[in-house]
Amino acid sequence: MASVSPYSNAPVLDLEALARRREVKTNVLLTVPALTVLVAAASGPLLIMLIFSFLTPGDYGGVKWELSFDAWFQVVLHRDIFDDTISLADAHLSILWRSVKLSFLTTLVAFILGFPTAYFIATRPPETRNIWLFLVTIPFWTNLLIRTFAILEIIRNQGVINSALLGMGLIDAPLDMLYTDIAILLGMTYVYIPLMILPIYASMERLDFRLVEAGYDLYASRWKVLKRIILPLVKPGVIAGSILVFIPSLGAYVTPRVLGGGKNLMLGNLIELQFGQGRNWPLGAALSLTLLVIVMFALIFYVRSAQRETH
């Protein structure tokens, strides 16, 4: 052992091993209370949900304890109640597609706006940098419902945007923005953009600008420096930010509920429906697990690319 401990040469190795084992035991014991709560109210329920996805829906919500694979079948397929023909469940697939599409677009828009913002903050003098960062953090810690409500107020027919456009004479009638996919996209971008800016900034802060300078010395254009030097160097931050925006967008519930109205459902709202009016708990469980699987794939992709960066 290359330990700097003054005792390392003394013949007390057995005692040291004993102390080490005791330390580990104490450490594990210290984590037990937190883990108990987490298993009881976070991990354990997921397992119960897995079981529920293989049961038969009860008549008034809940389940009957009879094995059934219908719920998983119904996630993507639809059996006609009259002639038993099997077809794709268009309603579910279109909601799934909307969720993926809107989450992807949210991530893209958040990147397009968030990347320059992170770059801007990282290139401020160190004294003011924290203030800019603080300005990004405040909306992030503000209630998500309030921020969604704020978006609702500005895009509604009599809202600020429509009033301004009408006032300037650019449009004759208010634009119907509320309760559309665009509204959801706008809302999710607004709500989640700090999650894009912060990790990109964290990468950007460590960026060695001498490399940028070297690029310019070798006659690279600004675009080329951005594409060939800066972007590859801050790629871990970009990937982290994209994951942090993509995952909550995919599972978004509040924003599509408030801004999408009753028609433009996303996966989160479809899941809720099964526990409310739909009264199909197994299907709700199966849909939730489908969402979880997609999220896990996104996370695995992230871990893989993060590992590749470090090697």
């Binding site: 984590t31 991990s43 329920p45 320059p116 419902l145 509040v254 809720e272 709700g284």
Partner: protein, 271 residues
């Protein structure tokens, strides 16, 4: 680096980036302005301005449902952040400044699980579990909400505490032990005071996270257990009056104050 080169400005400049950044900052704050302004509207409508008044703040204050929901939010957030902070402090002590041991990765994964699993999935899973327990025991109290909130607050309390601990070396504790202090007094008189800024930051984050939660509360609560956010979510389905703006503005103010406090707390750490 910046000291070595006195004019790095040109090199760091990217055309269009400052403009986009300003647009982004403007977009972050612009939507909140009408929200606050209309909370002072004298009229009944959130779109028609009819002069300044505080009537909606008074209305919100006099609304028993709002008051009850606000108290409920504060009580749940207090209990949840209290428990989460204690559990997270213990967990942080058990996972930092230690030799790597088997199972540590699993512990990290469990602690961070609430950050990785979409809220709606956890919410639905809890709904299923708690529905079974409610049916079996007949208990419909606040324990469900508090346990659920405690669980998802743990990672938020854990992260700043762990960050603080990792910045502390063990020399002071070793010195205390060398002077024959027993483990508990060493912890109470040396480790704990050094950890306090991290614990405060963690507790406050947990409090804010619990206070803001909509999705999990919406699915876990029993009848008549609305917190302020779920009450507001319910109201958004009906005719919206500036009362919602008034409540939102107050919550906004509280968040800003708390975040500012956390900001200065964590800044002192580096100073």
């Amino acid at each position: 680096m910046a000291v070595a080169r006195q004019k790095p400005f040109v090199i760091r400049h990217m055309p269009g980036f400052p403009t986009l950044a300003i647009v982004c900052f403007f977009a972050l704050y612009m939507p909140l302005v009408p929200l606050v302004i209309y909370s002072f509207n004298a009229g009944n409508n959130i779109a028609l301005w009819e002069g300044i008044s505080f009537r909606w703040y008074v209305a919100a204050w006099d609304n028993e449902l709002v008051k009850a929901a606000a108290v409920r939010s504060l009580v749940v957030a207090s209990f949840a952040s209290f428990f989460a902070t204690i559990l997270a402090t213990m967990a942080a002590l058990g996972t930092t400044r230690t030799r790597a041991y088997r199972g540590q990765t699993t512990i990290y994964a469990l602690i961070n699980q609430p950050l990785m699993v979409p809220e709606i999935v956890t919410a639905v899973a809890l709904l299923i579990l708690f529905a079974m327990i409610k049916e079996a025991t007949g208990y419909h109290g606040y324990a469900y909400l508090i346990i659920a909130h405690t669980a998802f607050c743990i990672p938020f309390a854990y992260l700043p505490i762990r960050a603080r601990l990792e910045g502390m070396d063990k020399t002071l504790e070793t010195a205390a032990a060398d002077l024959y202090a027993r483990p508990w007094p060493t912890f109470r008189r040396v480790t704990l005071p050094l950890m306090l800024p991290g614990i405060f930051a963690g507790a406050m984050l947990a409090f804010v996270i619990s206070l803001d939660d909509v999705v999990i509360t919406e699915f876990v609560k029993s009848a008549g257990q609305d917190t302020l956010p779920t009450y507001m979510l319910g109201q958004l389905r009906r005719v919206i009056t500036p009362e919602i703006n008034a409540i939102s503005s107050v919550l906004l103010l509280i968040s800003v104050i708390l975040v500012t406090l956390i900001f200065f707390l964590s800044r002192n750490k580096t100073a």
